[in-house]
Amino acid sequence: MTTTQPEQSTVDISIFGDDIVEKAQQIIARYPVARSALLPMLHLVQSVEGHVSQAGIAFCAAQLDLTTAEVSAVATFYTMYKRRPCGEHLVSVCTNTLCAALGGDAIYAKLREQLGSDGKPLGHEETAGAPGTPGSITLEHAECLAACDLGPVLQVNYEFYDNQTPESASELVEKLRNGEKPAPTRGAPLTDFKQAELQLAGFFEGRDPADNAGPSASIETVRGAKLAQERGWTAPSMPDDAPLPALPEKK
């Protein structure tokens, strides 16, 4: 981030219209203290611009009565706030140890090649295609995504694609480039990065309620539960009306 912050008043924040101001106010209303709204509000800003720009920072500062320096310090701390405009889709490949050992590193290398140009592989957080245009893709390597039993995993706009191989990942990305939106293994039908950011800000209105459905639990998730069912293993049964302990004596 730049060290010479332009004054709030000099940055044009008109890209954030009344609807976004209204949403920002709704976020603030969720919390006992307004500043807690900052992280969701930065997600909201990304839903408009596809990254956190100087205007986005100035907008949050104005909404929360903070300085732009204060907002900048927060925005730069977190990996999910992008400093450069993202593609229509953000593809995140887990390259933490476990996924890497199962092929995550190979997947990432394959996608870098595939999305690179002029014989140069695409770098971390770089975008193939003009950011925001259909089929543009920002690629990143990610840390453990809490899906290790389904590794190697990748995400598109934070929806899970489990048990990937370099081939399946390559095919997926090819489809995204061509404007297709293959369904995630677990999750809602794919939208785009900006729409995902709007949902991370806590706004689900206008989305199909069926979004919430979809395959939730993979085979891996329910393996233990299924095995127990097959073998008739259960937890000890609960007593009918387990008493609560007596109220402790007051000192």
Binding site: Y31, Y78, C144, A146, P243, P245
Partner: protein, 432 residues
């Protein structure tokens, strides 16, 4: 101590097999929200006593007794109290809380309501890592359903108890799983740990008394209310009672989530998970994420509970069993984990910020085949300077893979240094 008659004991995971398990309808069909009226009829202090008696210990890694933590909240202090759920799940290998919230979000919400009532909180936040959109979606929908049913909001079930619950998406920072960094992050700041004391119980969110608990911890509460403490203690071991979700990942035939009583062993779990993938022998594994010192094939019979793991030189952590077979290079795996800690170090204190940088440099050099045996001593020296001297447990955790790897697999580091890789069977990653 009670006998473990059951190999798997699905309690938290029991509903996951049911269709639309994430809906209020399914949850209520399967005893959901039946603990809530019982709890709200009781005195809050009775619930704290109950959870103390159950012996429930935190499932977020440290194993702190949950009832005791709740009892630290000062009462009649005139300040608002808060419950904050740690759903930041980011410890490498850990993958239990996200599936739980995806498959059965109402169990967490019911636990939140009961816990908030016990500690006299009227505001609860679930801090979920941002990268799990579907999970966040499910939680939001479940919260709305709970409001609509009168389980959240004003005058819950006509008892006069009020609770607001918000789902808060994080933004990608492992350190925000550390409870005080999480609170700073929830306050809209950089997620950096706070000096303790004061502890969150006295000065937590907005400097008010706050309980921070893990997802699995709080999801266990409704079952304890319904089943009682003796029922809960009928599973697991005396000092580590109850069922626990064990997450098996890596080179096993059937990776996944297995809920067993505390004290189960990897041998038993592997047996259920169909053994090692393609029969290739086990080389090393973590009992509870990358921050817990690794184990080897010698540790197949270590009871996986807090005491058992500690006695064997590691920690139970988050019961994230990452299993690696003989094809994986230990120095390479350690290098990858160390790169993670370097990336996630929040930079607040020097031993961790500088230390993880130097550790990464050295390990990368070794894996490239350019290290020297003295590098091993340097690694241990740096770890010595981080362990116990860093501001939070991230620094300590960063040393675990390195020191444990050198303890069990020093020869592999030496072999890399001697650049005799050509004479060795090629190990995955060793030359990358």
């Amino acid at each position: 101590m009670t006998e473990n008659n059951h190999v798997l004991t699905p309690v938290l995971t029991k509903r996951w097999l049911s269709p639309n398990s994430w809906t209020r309808h399914t949850y209520e069909q399967l005893e959901g929200y039946s603990a809530l009226p019982k709890a709200l009829k009781a005195h809050p202090d009775q619930l704290i006593e109950l959870v103390k008696a159950s012996g429930l210990r935190g499932r977020g890694g440290a194993g702190f007794p949950t009832g005791l933590k709740w009892s630290f909240i000062p009462q009649n202090d005139g300040k608002p109290h808060y419950l904050v759920i740690n759903a930041d799940e980011g410890e490498p290998g850990t993958c239990k809380d996200i599936p739980l919230m995806m498959a059965d979000p109402h169990s967490l919400i019911e636990g939140c309501i009961i816990t908030s009532y016990a500690i006299r909180a009227n505001f609860c936040a679930i801090y979920v890592r941002g990268e799990v959109l579907h999970c966040i979606r499910r939680l939001n929908a479940a919260v709305q359903e709970a409001y609509a049913a009168g389980y959240l909001g004003k005058n819950i079930l006509g008892t006069g108890f009020d609770l607001d619950l918000v789902i808060h998406a994080g933004a990608g920072a492992y350190i925000c799983g550390e409870e005080t960094a999480l609170l700073d992050s929830l306050e809209g700041r950089r997620g950096q740990p706070r000096l303790k004391p004061p502890f969150p119980a006295t000065a937590g969110l907005y400097a008010s008394p706050t309980v921070v608990n893990n997802v699995e911890t709080i999801a266990s509460v409704p079952y304890i209310v319904n089943g009682g403490s003796d029922w809960f203690r009928a599973m697991g071991r005396e000092k580590s009672p109850g069922p626990k979700i064990f997450s098996l990942s890596g080179h096993v035939e059937k990776p996944g989530q297995y809920e067993a009583p505390m004290g189960v062993t990897l041998r038993e779990l592997l047996d259920m998970a169909g053994g090692m993938k393609d029969g290739i022998p086990l080389k090393f594994w973590t009992p509870g994420g990358s921050s817990t010192p690794m184990f080897t094939a010698e540790h197949l019979d270590v009871p996986l509970d807090f005491e058992g793991c500690a006695q064997a030189g590691s920690m139970l952590g988050t019961t994230a069993l990452q299993i690696f077979n003989e094809t994986v290079s230990v120095p390479w795996a350690v290098m990858k984990w160390t790169e993670f800690y370097k990336h996630e170090s929040c930079g607040k204190c020097t031993p961790c910020r500088e230390g993880t940088f130097w550790l990464t440099q050295i390990l990368q050099r070794m894996v490239r085949g350019e290290g020297s045996p003295s590098d091993i001593e340097t690694l241990l020296d740096i770890c010595d300077n981080i362990l116990g001297r860093s501001f939070c447990a991230l620094g300590d955790g960063a040393t675990s893979p390195i020191t444990s790897a050198i303890k069990y697999f020093k020869h592999e580091f030496l072999e890399l240094c001697q650049q005799n890789a050509a004479a060795q069977p090629e190990l995955a990653g060793a030359s990358s």
